[in-house]
Structure formats: C-alpha cells, structure tokens
C-alpha cells in the first residue's frame, strides 16, 4: 500500500512543480514526470493495458508539447493574473476541495473493488464470463471491443475529429476571398 502513497506524492510534487515553475520547458518535462509516474501507478494497480497505453501516449504527447514550446524564442514566463482574481479563484477551488474531500468516504475503501459492494455490477459478469462470451483472454480488450465497443467507436471518432480539427486549424490559408478585417 505504501508504494501508492509514495507514487502519488511524487506525482503531486511533480504536478506542483509543473504548475509553478517559470521555465516552460521545465514545466513540460515535469508533466512528463507526472505521466510516467501515473503509468507506474497503473502498473502497480494491476492495469498493464493502461500502463502501456499511458507510456506511449505520454511519449507522443510530450513530443507534441515540446514541439510547441522548444522552438519558441522566449520560454520563460513571469507573473500571474491580477492578485484579486487569483485569490478569489484559489478560495473557490479550496472550498470545492474541502467540500469534495468528505465525499470519498461514501466510496468503497481503497482496495475493495466497486463490484464487490454493488449487487448488479456488470464487472462481475465480465470477469467470470468474459472469456466464454467474447473469446478474448484480455478482459479489458473484451470490454472495449465487444461489450462496450460502441464506446470505442466513439473514442476512435474523437481522435478522428481531433485530427481533422487540428489539420483544419493548422492549414495555411483559411479564406479564399479576403473579407474586410473586422475591428
């Protein structure tokens, strides 16, 4: 159990550094640390599928992020927004945090799977009959590609949409006839 605390504290420290450092490239690398930390955490949480996906996605995501930052001439940033606005948002966020922190007591304790306490949970069926019903040894694959394949279609579509959107945003010339520039 201790390993989870250590990893999570590591992730949080990395996240705080990523948020607070003035160096943009350093912030991006700290995000990488958060990502790899969470990937390790997934591994210890017995989710190898997610760990693999997280690592490879993290690598590509970092490449994308670094592309955005590294070739820029000035990667240092300074200052925050106005003091008042910062204080107000911090207070609001802190209140939400305090409100939320009690909430987790209603969840099953960490280490007890959700389906152990819910009588009609689908997961129990996935585990006991997933192999027989869908034929895949990897139960996660059987969930995403058979039981909940419709979600996966949506997910593939999200990626498709994002890529088309990105190529649309990045295209060189957007308008054919130039309109009068608006004020």
């Amino acid at each position: 159990m201790a390993v989870f605390y250590i990893l999570l504290v590591f992730i949080i420290i990395a996240a705080v550094i990523a948020v607070e450092t003035k160096d943009l490239l350093g912030a991006v690398i700290c995000v990488g640390a958060v990502g790899f930390g969470s990937s390790l955490m997934f591994l210890f949480l017995r989710a190898p599928d997610i760990a693999i996906t997280q690592i490879v996605v993290e690598v590509l995501g970092l490449i994308i992020l670094i592309r955005a930052t590294i070739t820029r001439d000035r990667t240092f940033i300074s200052g925050d927004r106005e003091f008042f606005a910062v204080v107000v948002s911090v207070v609001i966020i802190f209140v939400i945090f305090l409100a939320g922190i009690r909430v987790f007591e209603s969840l099953p304790d960490f280490g007890t799977a959700v389906f152990a306490e819910a009588p009609e949970a689908a997961s129990r069926t996935y585990i006991s009959e997933g192999l027989a019903r869908s034929g895949a040894a990897n139960l996660v694959a059987s969930v995403i590609l058979d039981f909940r394949a419709y979600d996966t279609l949506g997910e593939a579509t999200v990626l498709f949409t994002a890529i088309i959107g990105a190529t649309v945003i990045l295209r060189k010339k957007a308008r054919k006839l130039l309109e009068a520039p608006d004020k």
């Binding site: 009588p119 689908a122 069926t125 949506g154 949409t161 649309v168 308008r175 309109e179």
Partner: protein, 507 residues
C-alpha cells in the same frame, strides 16, 4: 416499423469518415452526400416521432452492454437537431465557398451532428460523455475554422472551458460508478431509487450540473459563449446556438437531474435561479452590443434561461408535491421553447451570415438600409425577430405564454413578471437589429451588396416557414400529443425512467 437506433449515429459517422477521401475533384459530390446525410437524418427524426424503444448495442443485455434509448424527450431533441442541421447544411453549400478545406468542414459538421445524436440517444453515462466529447471537439475546431485572430482566441477560450466542463463530467461519472457500480442510467436510477442520494452522489450531481452548465453556457459559466458563437462561420453559429448548447447542455442536464438522480426542491430552486440569472443577465448584456452576431449570442444565453426556468419550475412543483398538471405545463413551456429557440435562433444566425457575407461586416453601426437590397433576408429576419420577441401568431409567443401561465398557476407571480420583462428587453434588442441593419440610410460602401445565393435563401425560408407554423404544435392536439407531451411525460416520470427502460429492454 422501428428504426435501428444506431443509424442516427452511423449515417453521419460513416459519411464523415468517407468525405475527406474526396479531395479537390469530388467537392460537389461531397457536398451533395453531406446534404443527403442531413436530409436522411431529418427524415429519420420525423419517422421516429412517437416511437419509444431501447436498442442494445451488440445484443448485450443492459447492464453488460450499452443501450440506446429513444423516448419522447430524445425524439424531440433529435427533431430539433435534424431540422437545424438540415437547414444549416443547406446554407453552408454556398456560404462556405469563402473558406478553404470544404470537405473537412463538411466532415466536422457531420461529426458534430453525430455527436449530438449520440448524446441524445445514449442510455449510458460514459457513452454520453464520449459522444459529448465528439460534438464538443468538432465544435472547438469549427469555431476556429476561419483561423483569424479572433476566431482562434475564441476557440481556445471555448476549448479550455469546455474541456474543464468535460473533465468535471468525467469525474462525476467516476464518482457515480464508485457509488453504484453501474454506468447504465437505468440501473443507476434504480440504485438511487432504492438507497437515495448519499454524499458521493450528491457531489457527483454537483459536478454534472457544473459540467453541463458549462456546456449550456448558463450564466455563471457563460464566459465562452459570446466569443465562440459569433466567431464561428454563420451556419456553425446557427448549429451551436440552435442545438449544440441544448443537446449537450440542457438535454443532458434535464436527463441527469430528472431521470437519473431524481429531483428535489433544492435542485428545482437551483435550476430556477440559474435560468433567471441567464435570462436577465443575457438580456441586459445583449442590449449593449453593437456587433450583430454577438448580440444574438447574448440573446441565446437569455433565451436558454427560459428553457432552464421552465424545466426548473416543473422540477420544483413536482418535488414539493404540487399539481402535476402545472408542472407538466411548465416543462411543456420549457421544452417547446427549446424547440422554438432552435428554429428561430438558427434562422437569425443564418440571416446574420447572409448579411455579413454581402456587407463584409458585423458592426451594426456600419450597416443600414439593407431592406431594399436584401428583401428576402429582411423578411426572414423579421419573422424570426417577431418570433423570438413573442408576437402572437409566431412560435415564440406560445412558449412564453405557456411559461407565464404555468408561473401564475404555481403562484410564482414574480417569475411571470420577470419573463414578461425579459421579453420586453428582447423586443428592444431586435428592434435595434431591425433599425440598424435593414432600415435607415444605406452607407456608400454597401451599395453593391447583393441578396444571398439561392440555396442560402432556401434554407432561411424553410426555417421561417417553420417559425410561423410552429405555433400549431401546441394548438393542434394531434401534434401536441405526439411531439411535446411524450417529452414532458419522460421528465415528469422522473425515476420511473429506469423501470420503463428495463421493461422495454426485456421485451
């Protein structure tokens, strides 16, 4: 004949996957196909009226797989999506000629439609989240389609706030799963019916309200809308204001609050307060605008307030044990206003697009006297304005009337007063539009402005006819009992939803 429900998603999706393969040569064919897709969706939506069914994807019985639910509320929103997307697609045939990358535009448009249909039909909260993301991501990209300064900034602002909203929703999904062990709306509702809301579920409900409120641009969360909606190309503005904020925001919120979590009087008050705030703040902010599309965007916030107000009043009356008839009336007003607003606000945005296309500006002060140059645009804009203000024979009148009656019946006299007051503000705003755009002196530089192209006119006239005829939906009992009342029934049933769905699924 019952329709296999995934068709609503599959048609636009497959079309969107195939369209980018058409490169330069097949542009006409691509446009034609895209129009065919939206037309077929409209036809399917009309056919689906009055049906209710549950479709289990992959033949997995409910808690295992994902189910799609078609009921009165879904088919109402599907109808709105169908009508507006058909008109906007028709409009964009010629309008989008000023931009490059048309096939990608068509593809994104269809993906957005598919996302909305998926959200409306979904019976599973995680699936709802996924389709919500499809529609949102497509709309982020479409807002920035012009790639000018203002558009990119608006797109970024919209995207940041939208993603935060999505993550709230995802966190809420996680909490709900942790507390009930199920992702299926019907089973969650069943669990909540048995055990009631605990702290975790209440917090999840709060997250859902914040997330969907961000998507619906209700007033404390509205910061992105006045930037995003005007910046998009006109047909997209029409889609965003007309249906996106309703399908992703109001519909999903109503579904969650009424059918999954169950209503309580505090939720009712919360919705009423959100609605009133949106109405009043949106109207006041709109009056001060000098940018045509920005004015309309603020007015969208205000009009959406009516919808949320109607639904909230219904929730409050139901939760406090009031008369169900009045609650139904309030919800009917809200939902009817949703449908009306989808039609006339998209019409207004389309007219603004045609004005912008011929004059090249959106500033009210730079326009004037376009009534002679663009008679049809002027006529449709007048119809839409009259409708949104609530002048008797047009559609907006009926929904506002119903809301006022419901408020008075339920003894919320001050709410009725606010409704009338906001209507007056709306009147001022659209008189301003009429005065500065179509009447007055024609400026020198606009002497060459021409009437819009044919297909654009067709789309506008189609919507204008609907504006005039929509009043029939409440007057004619047949239409009312087939379109509006089933939708109201779904909401007043509340948590009975789960029993209905489970029963329909086992049939």
């Amino acid at each position: 004949m019952s329709i296999p429900l995934p068709v609503f998603v599959a048609i636009p999706l497959v079309m969107a996957f195939l369209l980018p393969i058409f490169v330069k040569k097949g542009k006409t064919a691509a446009t034609l196909l895209a129009n065919l897709a939206t037309l077929s969706l409209l036809v399917l939506a009309i056919v689906s009226i009055g049906q209710s069914s549950v479709y289990e994807v992959g033949k997995w019985s409910i808690p295992l797989g994902i189910n799609l639910v078609l009921d009165g509320l879904s088919s109402l929103v599907l109808l709105a999506v169908g009508v507006v997307s058909f008109a906007a697609m028709l409009f964009s045939v010629r309008y989008m000629e000023q931009y490059t990358a048309k096939t990608k535009y068509l593809s994104l448009f269809l993906l957005m439609v598919a996302g909305m249909n998926g959200v409306v039909l979904s019976g599973d909260i995680f699936n709802l989240f996924v389709f919500l993301e499809i529609a949102s991501i497509a709309s982020y990209a479409l807002v920035g389609f012009g790639c000018e300064h203002e558009e990119l900034e608006a797109s970024f602002k919209y995207m940041v706030l939208g993603e935060i909203g999505s993550l709230f929703i995802l966190f809420g999904v996680g909490l709900v799963y942790g507390n009930t062990g199920s992702l299926n709306m019907a089973y969650i509702a069943k669990g909540i019916q048995n055990t009631g809301l605990n702290a975790g579920l209440t917090f999840a409900l709060g997250l859902f309200i914040a997330g969907f409120g961000l998507k619906a641009a209700l007033v404390p969360f509205h910061a992105w809308l006045p930037d995003a909606h005007p910046s998009a190309p006109a047909p997209i503005s029409a889609m965003l204001s007309g249906v996106l904020i309703k399908a992703l925001g109001v519909y999903a919120l109503a579904r969650m609050v009424f059918n999954v979590f169950g209503i309580s009087d505090s939720i009712g008050w919360l919705l009423i307060v959100l609605g009133l705030l949106s109405m009043v703040a949106g109207a006041f902010l709109a009056i001060g605008q000098w940018d045509l599309k920005r004015l309309m965007a603020y007015s969208s916030i205000s009009q959406l307030g009516y919808v949320v107000l109607g639904i909230g009043m219904g929730a409050l009356i139901l939760a406090t044990g009031g008369n169900v008839a009045w609650a139904s009336l309030a919800i009917l007003g809200g939902l009817f206003h949703l449908l009306n607003h989808a039609v006339y606000k998209s019409l207004l945005f389309l007219t603004s697009g045609s004005v912008q296309m011929s004059t090249g500006t959106r500033q009210l002060k730079e326009m004037g006297g376009l009534a002679e140059k663009m008679p049809i645009t002027r006529a449709t804009c007048t119809v839409a304005s009259a409708s949104i203000v609530g002048i008797p024979p047009f559609s907006g009148f009926w929904s506002k009337l119903i809301l006022v009656i419901a408020a008075i019946q339920a003894h919320f006299y001050w709410i009725a007063a606010i409704i009338v007051f906001v209507s007056l503000c709306t009147l001022i705003m659209y008189l301003k539009v009429q005065r500065y755009v179509f009447l007055g002196e024609l400026p020198e530089n606009l002497q060459q402005s021409k009437e819009a192209k044919n297909s654009m006119l067709a789309a506008m006239v189609f919507l204008a006819c609907l504006c005039v005829l929509m009043g029939l939906l409440v007057i004619v009992p047949f239409l009312r009992s087939h379109i509006l009342e089933p939708a109201v029934q779904v909401l007043t049933d509340g948590l009975e939803y789960s029993a209905n769905v489970i029963q329909m699924a086992t049939m």
